[in-house]
């Protein structure tokens, strides 16, 4: 069915299209390129059998140098017609592990609208995020956001690579 893989430059227009189709928080192409050129290992796409991008996660590391290095999910979206396949979960899992392995991230954070029950449930129940705090009027239309966080250190450990090959 759906294949999950790292995002490449040629996916950017499709990711932007997926984002514009599904979400009201949108970005210029240059911002997508900025993610790819800074943290190329962190963003992933879901591709259907016809080669179309039907879901993506756009991820980065926190750029605020005063805080410990956190991963951050800029944007995550899956086309509505591709629900029930666990795509969001799979995308997030790949991104999280990459944050830990490549950038030593201790945790990953994201924002979600307090009214978005479906997304909140995905992060809380399926992906084990916790609410860290509420950010009032985070969204452009004035809605509050939950800032959610997940500890990565308990999840992954640096494996011993077998160099005998």
């Amino acid at each position: 069915m759906i294949t999950i893989r790292q995002a490449r430059a040629s996916d950017e227009i499709a990711m932007q299209n997926c984002n514009l189709t599904n979400l009201p928080e949108n970005y210029h192409m240059k911002y997508y390129l900025y993610h790819l050129a800074t943290w190329p290992e962190l963003s992933f796409v879901a591709e259907n059998e016809q080669g179309r991008v039907v879901g993506y996660v756009l991820a980065k590391m926190n750029e605020d140098m005063t805080e410990p290095l956190d991963g951050h999910i800029t944007s995550l979206s899956v086309m509505r017609s591709y629900r029930r396949l666990g795509i969001a979960e799979r995308l997030m899992n790949q991104a999280q592990r990459a944050m830990f392995e490549v950038f030593d991230a201790k945790c990953v954070s994201l924002h979600v609208r307090i009214s978005n029950i479906a997304a909140f449930s995905l992060y809380r129940n399926t992906l084990s995020f916790d609410i860290d705090h509420t950010e009032p009027k985070y969204y452009a239309d004035g809605e509050d956001a939950y800032s959610m966080k997940k500890d990565l250190t308990a999840l992954y450990s640096l494996e011993q690579e077998n160099l005998d090959f």
Binding site: S10, T21, H28, R80, Y82, L163
Partner: protein, 822 residues
């Protein structure tokens, strides 16, 4: 005066230096004042004038800026600073070619200036002049061989010219500067570890590109402790092992990768190749299936592994695997099941088998509420999803009535499932009832007003139904409330799908001005995409993310191949050609005016159909300051339509020369511009792609006719051209080619279009005859909805009588009984 800065008195020198510093911190107004201070005493100091021009440019006083700079350069033509400044301003205006020339001049007077060399490097990269890039970056490294991003930039330049070996050499020579224990770049550098990792992986990739697989593999082992991009390292390991034919080790490496991501088709197929298996070889089928089953046991949740067997199994195996996946998906309620299966339908047998399978489930569920492996009654939704699948199956085969019956049943069983409405709408669209489709989609949208996805779909369907105003009202529901201007926001966020659909809607409404405006907006977005790479030429190198950077460059090289761009470009060309033709025929198109007497729409108001008030957005009381040309009159009133079209033609010919549509479009422009050799080139390019393309013979006939009619074209050239055409196409005749392809509607349509272009009573009558018959039985399955709509429109444009048009409409309705467009 041509005094250099250093020849000025101390005070003025200090002021000059201060001005440059002010530029660096973007204090343009202060900088301008500082320059004027110098000019008070030395009013024609060339270099100061140039720098003043630079400030003017950044204060949006463009014309003055260029004048002042040019004056400065006239006075001090050998001044490096003056040319550098001129280059900066050209670059700022995104005129990269001119900028490069200026920088080259600047370099003549100051050949070791690292800033000039670096910025010129950026320009050369943007312009894809890689050889020159190597030269300037070599010079920088000679001046300063320790700064990593200088030698890394040189390595990249070598790679871009195809010299991976030289790229490797540069890195090997200089890498110790970064990698050594004592490296000065280690201390207080939080990105050091990542930079080292990226450099090492880049180097390893170069080794691979250079064909040194064993060296690369050894190197890979060596660098593992310092590599943080674990996934890339493991992928590289698997790839190299496979390339070295070390199948067992490679298999284990791929297994490791699959463990990390069991939904990767690449990893799974890689694993199969390690076992010497190829999924597309029928003789490997059993072995592949066995391996996949083994993997499925290890990774039972993997969607990719569930679907893969269906792509290569046949007969009983296929039924077994399909049955497994189908039951799982129906029980889970996966809406995209048919979309996935659809890719298998190119195999007729598989399509039919799947139909039978689901029909079987359906009757079983009706009779017993169970499937053959159920341990209990199935939930009602299973049967709903089953009908949902069968509806799409029927739709695929064009049985729209059956499809809609099934959708009705599904909707009755589950009236709140939005997916059902979306697919019902799609079926209606296929059947030619665009109004019905739009209504159903909107009905579904009302069920979940918080969901932008269905809003997007509804907007698209409204536009397909030419309801520009309603579509706008609907899309702005999801545009940021704090956006200064809603419509501009849509343009700013590069919502290219909307611009394109809107353009087509206006085209259908015969509002060519607005249509062109939208197609230009799409084009503008893509030009922005292309320009976006500029800053990354330095940024990515500083970040060491070279692999991603090369990927970006390769994408940018192809960006104009994107279907949305191509479609918009083709549409724009067709609009310009139409404008030209109408003008030439004495009835030029007049821009449709903005009705300023009407109040702007509010979200609660309604818009009269036919009113195309684009300038004010919904809920806004005044038009956007940015929208200086709401009805696209600038495009319409331009006097060089064909030249404008030619710009699009050139991009298409460069980017998508392998697509037939490119040359069909190009021909229309070249012919009208009387560039007969270019028109011939289009014909030949089209023929190279498809020597039986329906448009070929009409094109040949038209160019021959045009040549015959053109007395100003030199006789020997005419003869040469016509000779070439005769040699390849013989005695081309539209009637003949239609007869030879009498079962194919595309030939009749292309022929009719050609005859219409040729003009004259006989040709028009012939064309009409063809078009009225467009829905005849003999054309069989080539009577697609799209072609019949095209026939309908051509008949209308060519002045067919009411009775001719209704004869056609009646026959078209026999093919598409649910269509509302005939």
């Amino acid at each position: 005066m041509s005094l250099t800065v250093s020849e000025l008195p101390h005070k003025e020198q200090a002021l000059f230096r201060a001005a440059l510093k002010l530029y660096e911190v973007k204090q343009f107004k202060k900088g301008l004042k500082t320059c004027d201070q110098i000019l008070k005493k030395y009013s024609s100091h060339g270099e100061t004038l140039a720098v003043k021009g630079m400030f003017l440019a950044h204060l949006d006083r463009k014309e003055e800026a260029y004048e002042t700079i040019k004056r400065g350069i006239e006075i001090s033509p050998k001044s490096s600073i003056s040319w550098h400044v001129y280059g900066i301003v050209c670059r700022f205006d995104e005129n990269y070619e001119e900028a490069a020339r200026c920088y080259e001049e600047a370099l003549k007077a100051d050949s070791e200036n690292p800033t000039i060399l670096r910025e010129l490097g950026q320009l050369y990269t943007q312009l894809r002049q890689y050889q020159k890039l190597v030269e300037v970056r070599s010079r920088i490294v000679k001046i300063d061989s320790s700064t990593p991003h200088y030698w890394l930039g040189l390595a990249v330049a070598h790679q871009l010219t195809g010299r991976n070996d030289l790229a490797l050499k540069v890195i090997s020579t200089h890498e110790h500067i970064l990698l050594d224990e004592s490296s000065p770049f280690k201390a207080n550098n939080s990105s050091y570890k990542g930079d080292v990792s990226e450099l090492l992986m880049y180097k390893n990739w170069l080794m691979e590109l250079n064909g040194d697989y064993q060296t690369a593999l050894d190197n890979l082992k060596e660098v593992r402790p310092r590599v943080t991009d674990v996934t890339a390292w493991k992928e590289q390991k698997a790839k190299l092992l496979l390339k070295l034919d070390r199948k067992e080790a490679a298999a284990s490496a791929y297994q490791d990768l699959i463990q990390r991501n069991p939904d990767s088709n690449t990893y799974i197929c890689g694993y199969l190749s390690c076992n010497g298996l190829d999924i597309s070889r029928p003789e490997d089928k059993d072995a592949v299936l066995e391996i996949i089953k083994g993997l499925q046991q290890q990774f039972p949740k993997s969607n990719a592994l569930k679907f893969l067997p269906l792509t290569f199994c046949n007969g009983d195996d296929f039924v077994k695997e399909a049955d497994k996946l189908a039951k799982f998906s129906l029980r889970k309620g996966i809406p995209s099941l048919f979309t996935s299966m659809k890719t298998l339908y190119t195999d007729k047998v598989k399509g039919e088998t799947l139909g039978k399978l689901f029909e079987g489930y359906s009757s079983q569920l009706r009779a017993t509420k169970r499937l053959d492996d159920s341990t209990d009654d199935e939930s009602l939704s299973v049967s709903t999803w089953c009908m949902f699948y069968l509806a799409q199956h029927a739709d695929y085969y064009g049985n729209y009535e059956r499809a809609l019956q099934l959708m009705e049943a599904a909707i009755n069983a589950s009236p709140d499932t939005v997916d059902l409405y979306m697919v019902k709408a799609k079926i209606l669209k296929h059947a030619g009832d665009i109004r019905g489709a739009r209504d159903v989609m909107d009905f579904g949208r009302q069920k979940d007003l918080n969901d932008r996805f269905i809003n997007t779909r509804t907007v698209k369907y409204m536009l397909r139904n030419n309801e520009v105003d309603d579509a706008e009202k609907t899309i702005v529901l999801f545009v940021r409330d704090d956006a200064e201007h809603m419509i501009q926001e849509i343009v700013d966020t590069q919502t290219i799908w909307y611009m394109r659909e809107r353009g087509h809607a206006y085209r259908r409404l015969d509002d060519i001005g607005r249509a062109l405006k939208h197609f230009h907006q799409v084009s503008h977005s893509f030009e922005t995409y292309h320009k976006d790479q500029y800053d990354f030429h330095t940024y990515a190198i500083r970040k060491f993310t070279i692999r991603a950077y090369i990927d970006i460059l390769e994408w940018e090289d192809q960006v104009f191949t994107h279907p949305v761009y191509v479609d918009s470009a083709v549409a724009a060309i067709s609009c310009y050609v139409d404008l030209h033709d109408r003008k030439a025929a004495g009835s030029p198109f007049a821009p449709i005016s903005v009705d300023t007497s009407k109040k702007p729409m509010t979200r609660n108001g309604t818009a009269k159909s036919g009113q195309h008030n684009l300038s004010a957005g919904v809920g806004e009381s005044k038009p956007a300051a940015v929208d200086a040309d709401p009805n696209g009159s600038a495009f319409v009133m331009a006097d060089n339509h064909l030249e404008k079209a030619l710009k699009f033609v050139e991009v298409l010919e460069r980017s998508v020369g392998s697509q037939p549509e490119t040359h069909v479009s190009a021909f229309e422009v070249h012919l009208r511009m009387k560039k007969y050799f270019l028109a011939l080139k289009s014909i030949n390019s089209l023929r190279a792609i498809d020597d039986n393309h329906p448009s070929l013979v009409p094109m040949v006939v038209r160019i021959n006719t045009a040549l015959d009619a053109d007395d100003s074209f030199a006789a020997p050239m005419k003869a040469a051209l016509k000779g070439q055409l005769t040699k390849v196409f013989g005695d081309a005749s539209i009637a003949k080619t239609i007869e030879e392809n009498s079962k194919y509607l595309p030939f009749a349509l292309a022929g009719a279009k050609g005859l219409i272009c040729l003009g004259g009573d006989t040709n028009i009558a012939q064309a009409k005859g063809l078009l009225v018959q467009a829905a005849s039985e003999r054309y069989g399955a080539t009577r697609t909805l799209k072609s019949l709509i095209e026939a309908r429109d051509l008949l209308a444009n060519v002045g067919a009588s009411e009775s001719e048009r209704s004869t056609f409409a009646a026959s078209a309705k026999k093919v598409f009984s649910l269509a509302t467009c005939f």
